[in-house]
């Protein structure tokens, strides 16, 4: 078997606690891989350590044990190879939408001329349909628009991989739907590799090729990795008419409601190789 594009091995994170020399790790023994061009979502209850994993992948936080290997090299510290869309959009309020994106482009290409930087930033803002609002400050943008600027900023550096931390968490259902569609369009066009955290089962089904299911913390583990049997690109309108939709959805909801809390691994469960599960599509699994 060849090495996946991104490989996470034996990851563990302990946060120091007063009076405890060996506090419970948030998660331990986390192993999984992401192939180039794959869209992977992580589902798990609040506090299981999803953001912590994403921060470690981004290089913003350090694991207590284990390591992350991307494209053959170990991840040590943040890098322009991994674009991050923060949960709270993290735009700089003193810069306009355009200047926020230009800041990222300039970081990526310090040698570019002013016009080149601007043209590149505008291109990505237009990609998220914000061509009309490039000179607005974040305070003058709606929540969804801010989130889209954050997405444009992350995409504009053309990273090898995107890390999204609940990027649509704060949005209403309508805005969320339209930005999801935009994201699908961009990812299809750029063949981006994406790692995304979400709380929303339907969002995971729509976007992800693989859904990583985490048990509750502390000592969270990866219970299994669910393979989305429905082919890309998936369309929100027709998704639920496909025969695999409800079996998949029920499987995920069932995990979140019941199994995530009292996860009892079988004898053959191996943390180094979390089982791949193909709900609703046994035939495809066999193929």
């Amino acid at each position: 078997m060849t090495q996946p594009f991104l490989k996470i091995e034996g990851l563990k994170r302990q946060f120091p606690q007063a009076g405890k020399p060996d506090p419970d790790p948030v998660f331990e023994d986390v192993h999984f891989g992401i192939e180039r061009g794959q869209f992977v979502c992580v589902l798990g209850h609040s506090g299981c350590g999803k953001t912590t994993i994403l921060n470690i992948l981004a290089g913003l936080d350090e694991a207590t044990a284990g390591h992350v290997i991307m494209d053959g090299r170990e991840v040590r510290g943040p890098s322009l190879d991994r674009g991050v869309v923060f949960q709270s959009h993290a735009l700089m309020p003193w810069l306009s939408a355009l200047k926020n994106v230009e800041f990222a482009v300039r970081s990526r290409h310090p040698e570019w001329s002013r016009e080149q930087v601007r043209a590149h930033a505008v291109k990505y803002l237009e990609m998220v349909h914000l061509g009309h609002a490039i000179d607005k400050k974040p305070a003058e943008l709606s929540g969804g628009m801010k989130q889209r600027v954050g997405i444009a900023r992350a995409f504009s550096i053309e990273p090898k991989m995107l890390l999204l931390d609940e990027p649509f968490g704060a949005l209403d259902a309508l805005t969320r739907g339209s930005i999801q569609s935009e994201l699908i369009g961009i990812v299809e066009a750029t063949k981006q590799t994406v790692f995304m955290i979400t709380h929303d089962v339907d969002e995971a089904i729509l976007l992800a090729d693989r859904i990583v299911l985490m048990t509750n913390g502390p000592r969270a583990k990866i219970a299994e990795i669910v393979v989305n049997p429905m082919p890309r690109p998936r369309d929100r309108e027709t998704l639920h008419q496909q025969p695999e939709f409800y079996p998949l959805r029920n499987h995920l909801v069932d995990f979140l409601v019941k199994r995530s809390r009292a996860f009892a691994p079988g004898a053959d469960w191996d943390p180094k190789n979390p089982p791949l599960v193909y709900p609703g599509a046994p035939a495809r699994a066999a193929a």
Binding site: L60, P78, S79, F86, S88, W94, F103, S107, I157
Partner: protein, 283 residues
């Protein structure tokens, strides 16, 4: 209410002003009456100076006299008739120059140092005891030491302004820099932004409103202190002018100077408020 009557507040202000001038006029014109009777004791008159020697007049001038004096100064603000008789424009010019000199020097020291303190918890902890002790010292307490070591009264005044402007800028800069949002720093880290670029393009704009608050407090304090400092060191400046006019017992000149001090203080404050508005950001 005030929304559809924007003239109401200015009208009220004008009314208060008229009331104040009216009371002032009445107060000064009635005290003038009894004094007008018997001749003033010549010894007392000699003590009080020229004004009282004229006899019939109250030492406290009325609004008319002050207005005339102001007009006189407005017509000729920059005359220079020797060390003790310079125009108000020249005197206030000296004061402004000293304040700006000391203040800008303080900014030059406080902002970079505040940056350092705000970015490094270690430096913060190391310097905190010194700041704690030095901050509450009245700037004028430094004056004798400054005069002794610097041996130049003008520079000593600038030093006192420097010292009093330093602390608010230092403390605010350190606080502003230390409380830059983690998420903006994380954005800079994921973009591999170099330290200098991060300092100027992320931390400085993020902390700028807090820094400006410190700068605004500092200019206010500096302007308060300069008057007292110039009374001490003498020579030139609006503070010296006030003190000198007190010796001449020219109350009209003192009142004129007081008004001018208030006016310039307000302008300085407005200037910084304007800068603060220009660099502030809204989330």
């Amino acid at each position: 209410m005030t929304r559809n009557k924007p003239w109401l507040a200015p009208l009220l202000s004008a009314l208060f002003f008229a009331l104040f001038v009216g009371v002032w006029y009445l107060a000064t014109s009635t005290t003038a009456a009894p004094v007008a009777g018997p001749a003033v004791d010549p010894e007392y008159a000699a003590l009080l100076g020229a004004q009282a020697a004229t006899g019939g007049q109250s030492a406290m001038p009325g609004p008319g006299e002050v207005a005339a004096k102001i007009w006189e100064h407005v017509l000729d603000p920059f005359y220079d008739r020797g060390t003790n008789d310079k125009g108000l424009g020249i005197q206030i010019g000296y004061s402004i120059a000293r304040v700006l000199g000391g203040y800008l020097l303080a900014a030059l020291v406080a902002i970079p140092l505040g940056f350092l303190i705000g970015m490094s918890p270690l430096v913060y902890k190391a310097l905190d005891p010194f700041i704690q002790i030095l901050k509450p010292i009245s700037p004028l307490a430094w004056m004798p030491l400054a005069l002794y070591t610097i041996k130049d009264s003008g520079i000593s005044a600038i030093f006192v302004i420097f010292i009093c402007s330093l602390w608010p800028m230092l403390v605010n800069t350190a606080f502003g820099v230390a409380s830059v949002r983690r998420e903006w720093l994380n954005v800079a880290r994921t973009l591999e932004v170099k330290p200098i670029r991060r300092a100027f393009l992320v931390i400085l704009p993020a902390a700028a409103p807090t820094i400006l608050t410190g700068m605004r407090i500092s200019i206010g304090i500096a302007w308060l202190v300069i008057v007292a400092a110039e009374m001490l060191v003498g020579g030139t400046g609006i503070g010296y002018f006030v003190w000198n006019e007190w010796n001449n017992l020219s109350i009209t000149n003192i009142i004129t100077a007081i008004l001018l001090i208030g006016l310039v203080g307000m302008l300085l404050d407005h200037l910084l408020a304007w800068v603060a508005r220009a660099i502030s950001w809204r989330e």
